[in-house]
Symmetry: C2
Subunit: 195 residues, 2 copies
DNA sequence: CCATTTTCAGCACGACCGTTCTATGACGTC
DNA sequence: GACGTCATAGAACGGTCGTGCTGAAAATGG
C-alpha cells in the first residue's frame, strides 16, 4: 500500500471514530486535521471535497462493520444460532467498536430528510443490512428453526427496532437495564418466529 | 399576549418545523431569520444565545406534542384502547404534524454523545415519555387487559423500538410497508402483554 | 398624548467553515 | 544521481456562523 493510501486510511479510521460521536456534518475538516495531526490542506488533498470525505468515511465504516458483524455472523451455524450471533455481534459493534455508537444509526437520522449522495449511500447501506437480516432469518426457516410462513421483512423490521431502542436506551438514557430489555425483546421476537 | 411573546412564539413554531427537517444544530439563526422574514439580530434579541433558542425550540415542540399525543391519549378509555390510541396519535405526530418527523427522535440521536443542557433536556423529555407509556400500560394492567406481572419498562422499551423502526422505515428507506410492519409489531407486543 | 419601555434592523466583529493556490520536501524510476 | 510524480504544509479566499453595539420605530401604560 502506497504512502498516500496508508495515510488516507488512517485519516478515515479517525474520521469514523469522530463521526460516531458527533455525526457526519459536525465532522469538520479542521477538527479531523487536528485529530490526525495534519494540516487542513494536506488532509483535504486526499479528498477533493467534504462530501467525498463523508462518503469515504461511510464506506470505511462499512468495512469495519463487515469485519465486526457480517463475517462472524456468516461463520456461525445457520439457524437460530446465527440469528443470535448476528444480534450479539451488532451489540459488540455498537458498544465496543466505536466511541459514539453505530455510525449508521447516527447517519440515518442525520440524512433522512436531506437529499443527496450521502442519503443515497445510507439508503443503499441500510437496504443491504435489512436484506442481510432477512437472509439470516431465511436460513433459519430453511433449517426448520423458524416457521415457513414467517414474514422476513417483518422480522427484519422488528429487529431493526430493537437495535434503535438499544442505541436510545444506552446512548441517551444511559439506562443500565437496556441490555436486559434488548435481550428479552430478542427472545420475544425469536419465539414469535419459531416453527 | 404582548407583541414580543407573539413573535417569539411564531419564531419558535417555525424553528420546530425547521429542526424537524435539519436537526437542532443545523437550525441556524440566519436561516431561521430568513424563514421568519426577520433580521438576524432582531430574531437573536428574543433569545440571548443559540443554546437558549434550541432549548426554547425543544420546549415548544413539547407543547405541540402534548396537544397532539398526550391529551388525546388521556381522553381515550383506559386499557388496551388507550395503548392503541397512544400509538395512533404518535403516528399522527410523526407523519402529519411536522415536515421532518419527530424532533425528539432527531434530537435524541444528535445529542446522545454531547453533554450539555440540550442533552439534559432531551433526557428529561424522553424519561417523561417512557414513564407516560408505562403509566398507560399500567392502567391496562389495572383494567385487566394486560397481565398483572407485565414488565412495564420492558413494554415501554419495545414500544419505543417500534417508534424508531417506523421513523427509520418511512423517513430514510421510504418503505411503503413500514406502516403495516409497525402495526403488526404493535399487535405482537400487545398480544405478549395480554392477560 | 406623552414618556418609557420594548421590539427590531443595520452594521461590525472574530472565529471557523470548505476550498484553492503555491511551494517544498520525499519518493520511485531510469 | 537527475527527474518527475506524489504527499503535505502554509497562507489566503469568500462565506457563514454566533454574538455584540447602536439607534430608530413601535408598542405600552399613565
Amino acid at each position: 500500500m502506497s504512502k498516500g493510501q496508508q495515510t488516507k486510511t488512517a485519516i478515515l479510521d479517525e474520521a469514523v471514530r469522530l463521526a460516531s460521536r458527533v455525526g457526519f456534518n459536525a465532522l469538520t475538516i479542521g477538527q479531523l486535521a487536528e485529530a490526525t495531526e495534519m494540516s487542513k490542506s494536506g488532509l483535504f488533498a486526499h479528498f477533493k471535497s467534504k462530501e467525498a470525505l463523508q462518503l469515504a468515511t461511510l464506506d470505511r465504516g462499512r468495512e469495519w462493520f463487515t469485519g465486526v458483524v457480517i463475517r462472524p455472523t456468516l461463520a456461525s451455524p445457520r439457524g437460530i444460532a446465527r440469528v443470535r450471533t448476528l444480534f450479539d455481534r451488532w451489540l459488540v459493534w455498537e458498544t465496543e467498536t466505536l466511541p459514539g455508537g453505530c455510525i449508521f444509526v447516527t447517519g440515518s437520522i442525520e440524512y433522512d430528510d436531506q437529499p443527496g449522495p450521502m442519503r443515497d449511500a445510507l439508503v443503499r447501506n441500510q437496504r443491504d443490512w435489512a436484506e442481510f437480516i432477512e437472509s439470516v432469518a431465511s436460513a433459519a426457516v430453511n433449517e426448520g428453526d423458524f416457521r415457513a410462513d414467517l414474514d422476513l421483512q417483518q422480522f427484519a423490521f422488528s429487529l431493526q427496532g430493537l437495535i434503535y431502542a438499544y442505541h436510545h436506551g444506552t446512548r441517551l438514557l444511559r439506562d443500565p437495564k437496556s441490555l436486559e430489555h434488548t435481550h428479552r425483546g430478542l427472545e420475544l421476537l425469536i419465539d414469535s418466529a419459531k416453527a
